[in-house]
């Protein structure tokens, strides 16, 4: 599978060198391949047990591919790329593709499973006990551990004394020993819960509903169960849900994945359907969403540029200032100045958040102010950028110091002899040379800051929020905004969030790829 990604057989520019057998290499290679095979065999057993044939096929193909790859003298580049690529595909490409595919669905709260699951959920949720409901003797059992295993209702028909086992999937007949009251004393494959064990899990027992043809069986206490009638039932003829008492109907709408009545009101439980590009068009066309999206995008770009540019300027200024043998105590300066880099950033973000606290924050205390920093848009934005400056400049300082030391001093001196001012020499000689080395780092720093989730989530959490839109605050980055849509309190809209994340990806990727194209000649210099 790695071969297809990298585009088939490799072409070497240089004549292939005949490989000589390397005795020591073989002695390391054979045990390593042996360990790989052993791990693959160990991993195969659970796949066989669970009849996961596709997984097994992938495992066998990958292992066979690896053995071939490292035993053949061909495909040398692939030998070096395979370990990283396999991990990349498993833990990055695959999750990302899965996420991207949900952008074309309505996956989220109320739209998680199939239509059948939605119908069952609607019916069982509407079950009530009515006069004349069939009563059963109930025994609570489990197929696993009494404290944590999945619960099963063992119900005994009071007349035939036939025992059936039921869980959320439905009923099936079993053989069991029953006592005079009709309660099960023992059954193969089930562990009967004692009264004590059952009462601990009473909340789960109350919640369990075993679907039947006309409704569902629910518990009434720990020893009795009844078959209630569903207040709402699915009618295949009209593909709708009908309320048996009021006669209201909700018709299935396959385009939105929900049951909708004549007035456009939906039932809460829907199912997952493909919605094409509607999540994407929604971002651009719905004013309530497009407005905040564009505003957030502009601020997001400003934040990324200010954080990257600010740390770069600060780091470079500092590196230039200390780049002189006449400054005494340079080593001490350097050691102390990179200290912020050694502090754990997640913790320092939280500390900064508390330092900006209005009532007992350090900044207001020291400066004798009473500013509600995270209360106004401008001050909150200033605050988060200031925090990013503190966290980010030591890295730029280290890198710029290194790059400055690599530039021959004679170059700057030569320009001064030629009559250039200090500033002119810096701008024409030093800065261009620095940029050659630092541009790739600046681009990756930009990409990192564009999606700097922690910087916002651990400090302002997006605040301040406008009164009319609690879902999008002034310091929200696209990524924190998306996080709130995907996992926030207002109901998860996972498909929609995935669509926004694809937009984010496109923006960052285009900006970065364009910058890399512009620096392409740099690589040619190196290669």
């Amino acid at each position: 599978m790695t071969a297809t990604k990298l585009g088939g057989p490799e072409v070497q520019a240089r004549p292939a060198v005949e490989e000589k057998p390397d005795k020591k290499g073989t002695m390391i290679k054979i045990p390593l391949l042996g360990i790989t095979t052993a791990i693959a065999i160990w991993a195969a057993f659970p796949l066989v047990d669970n009849e996961a044939w596709i997984g097994l096929a992938v495992l066998i193909a990958t292992t066979a591919g690896l053995l071939y790859l490292y035993l053949t003298p061909r495909h040398i580049p692939l030998k070096y790329l395979a370990p990283g690529t396999i991990l990349l595909i498993l833990f990055q490409v695959f999750p990302v593709l899965y996420t991207a595919s949900t952008a074309f669905t309505n996956f989220g709260d109320g739209h998680r499973g199939s239509k059948q699951e939605a119908v069952t959920a609607i019916q069982t949720a509407s079950v009530t006990q009515v006069p004349g409901s069939q009563q059963y003797a109930l025994t609570v059992a489990t197929t696993g551990d009494p404290a944590t295993g999945p619960l099963v209702f063992l119900i005994t028909d009071p007349v035939t004394r036939q025992v059936e086992a039921g869980d959320a999937d439905g009923l099936k007949q079993i053989e069991a020993a029953v006592n005079s009251a009709g309660r099960v004393t023992a059954a193969d494959g089930f562990t009967v819960l004692t009264v004590g064990q059952a009462s601990v899990r009473s909340a789960e027992i109350t919640a369990l509903a075993v679907p039947t043809a006309g409704g569902a069986i629910r518990s009434s206490g720990l020893s009795r169960a009844y078959e209630g009638r569903a207040g709402r039932a699915y009618d295949e003829g009209c593909d709708c849900i009908r309320d048996t008492t009021t006669g209201r109907t909700w018709t299935a709408d396959e385009t939105v994945g929900a049951f909708v009545d004549g007035n456009g009101e939906r039932l809460a439980q829907g199912w997952k359907v493909g919605v094409g590009f509607s999540n994407f068009t929604r971002v651009l066309s719905e004013p309530a969403i497009a407005g905040p999206f564009l505003r957030t995008l502009v601020w997001n770009l400003a934040f990324a540029i200010a954080s990257t540019g600010g740390t770069f300027v600060l780091g470079l200024l500092l590196a230039m200032a200390l780049h002189s043998p006449r400054v005494r105590g340079r080593t001490a300066y350097r050691v102390l100045l990179v200290l912020p880099y050694a502090m754990p950033s997640f913790a320092m973000l939280l500390v900064w958040r508390d330092m900006f606290n209005t009532d007992f924050g350090l900044i207001n205390n020291l400066l004798g102010l009473d500013v509600d920093w995270f209360g106004g848009s401008a001050s909150a934005r200033l605050a988060v950028i200031l925090v990013q400056l503190w966290l980010g400049y030591p890295y730029m300082f280290l890198v710029a110091t290194g790059a400055l030391q690599a530039i021959p001093r004679e170059l700057a001196e030569a320009s001064r002899i030629d009559g250039a001012s200090a500033w002119g020499g810096f701008r024409r000689i030093t800065l261009p040379l620095l940029m050659v080395a630092l541009t790739p780092l600046l681009i990756s720093s930009f990409a990192f800051n564009f999606n700097n989730f922690n910087a916002i989530y651990l400090t302002t959490e997006g605040a301040p929020f406008p009164a009319d839109n609690p879902a999008n605050g002034a310091t929200d980055l696209l990524i924190t905004y998306t996080y709130r849509i995907a996992f926030g309190g207002g109901g998860a809209q996972y498909g929609f969030a995935a669509a926004i994340s694809i937009f984010i990806f496109l923006i960052v990727a285009v900006v970065s790829a364009a910058s890399f194209r512009r620096t392409r000649h740099l690589e040619e210099v190196h290669a």
């Binding site: 669970n50 880099y341 502090m343 030391q405």
Partner: protein, 280 residues
């Protein structure tokens, strides 16, 4: 006057930056030793010296476990990711094959997808993994390390590739002429030469992993399995004011491994930054 123009401004910039750099750290130190241990009683000047916050940290929480987990996970995964990345950088720098440019670019671009959204997918994947292979499932070191290694090919691969490019090709070509195989060229000749950049990327990877919060937060739920960020953030999530001193004590202790790794690798790092930057 001339001294002021040539040297004085340098000290001015340095001192101003020192104040900015150190103020929050001094605050954390004073809060960590503050006997009251609350946020509202913490000031930048130490208000007392007491180890109460540290003893509470070890007595009331599983800080020792978190610390060990973080060290093992960050240590192993950064070491492994540097090795995997170096292998790939060698192929990208020294070998010419079809799909090289596409491979290089896609390695970079895939990292730009907001990965936290993939958390739901990762959660589903690892729910199955926990069922099939509990040794690699949730709340284990090995599962999280594997997951982090998914990101081994990335920006670091680019950094290393750039560094490999600066090592003259004649070196490995002459070795090949002398009969060295490609693993010998890689392990014996190139790796020692690129040691500085290995140290730099190891440090970056270590800092990145030991600070990682989002994925670890989903992955590690058992109190004893947590890493430092998950444990410490959880500690101030509910009791922000009361636990502030403990939190700062934990922050200081968390900085120790990073500083040690930095010291350990420093010999190479200045070299790596210097030489890695402009050469060629």
């Amino acid at each position: 006057m001339s001294w002021l123009k040539q040297v004085g401004w340098r000290h001015l910039v340095g001192v101003l930056m020192l104040v900015f750099a150190l103020a929050p750290i001094v605050f954390v130190v004073s809060a960590a030793f503050n006997p009251l241990g609350t946020l509202s009683s913490s000031e930048i000047v130490p208000t007392g010296a007491s180890a109460a916050n540290f003893t509470r940290l070890f007595a009331d929480t599983e800080f020792g476990h978190w610390f060990l987990n973080s060290i093992v996970i960050a240590g192993l995964s950064s070491a492994a990711s540097v090795f995997i990345s170096a292998l790939a950088a060698y192929a990208f720098s020294r070998r010419r094959f079809r799909g090289r440019r596409v491979g290089l670019l896609s390695v970079l671009l895939i990292q730009m997808f907001p990965q936290f959204l993939a958390i739901v997918a990762i959660f589903l994947i690892f729910s199955t993994v926990t069922d099939y292979w509990p040794a690699l499932g949730f709340n284990t070191w090995w599962g999280l390390i594997l997951l982090y290694l998914g990101g081994a090919l990335g920006v670091n691969t680019w950094l290393m590739k750039g560094f490999f490019d600066t090592v003259p090709r004649e070196l490995d070509e002459s070795a090949t002429m002398d009969g060295a195989s490609h693993p010998q060229v890689f392990f014996r000749i190139l790796l020692p030469l690129v040691a500085p950049i290995l140290a730099v990327t190891a440090l970056l990877a270590f800092i990145g992993t030991i600070n990682e919060f989002l994925i670890a937060n989903v992955f590690l739920t058992d109190a004893g399995a947590k890493t430092l960020p998950v444990g410490l953030v959880g500690m101030v999530a509910g009791e922000r004011n009361a636990n502030f001193g403990m939190f700062c004590a934990g922050t200081l202790l968390t900085a120790i491994p990073t500083v040690l790794v930095f010291q350990l690798l420093q010999r190479y790092i200045t070299d790596g930054l210097t030489a890695g930057a402009v050469k060629g």
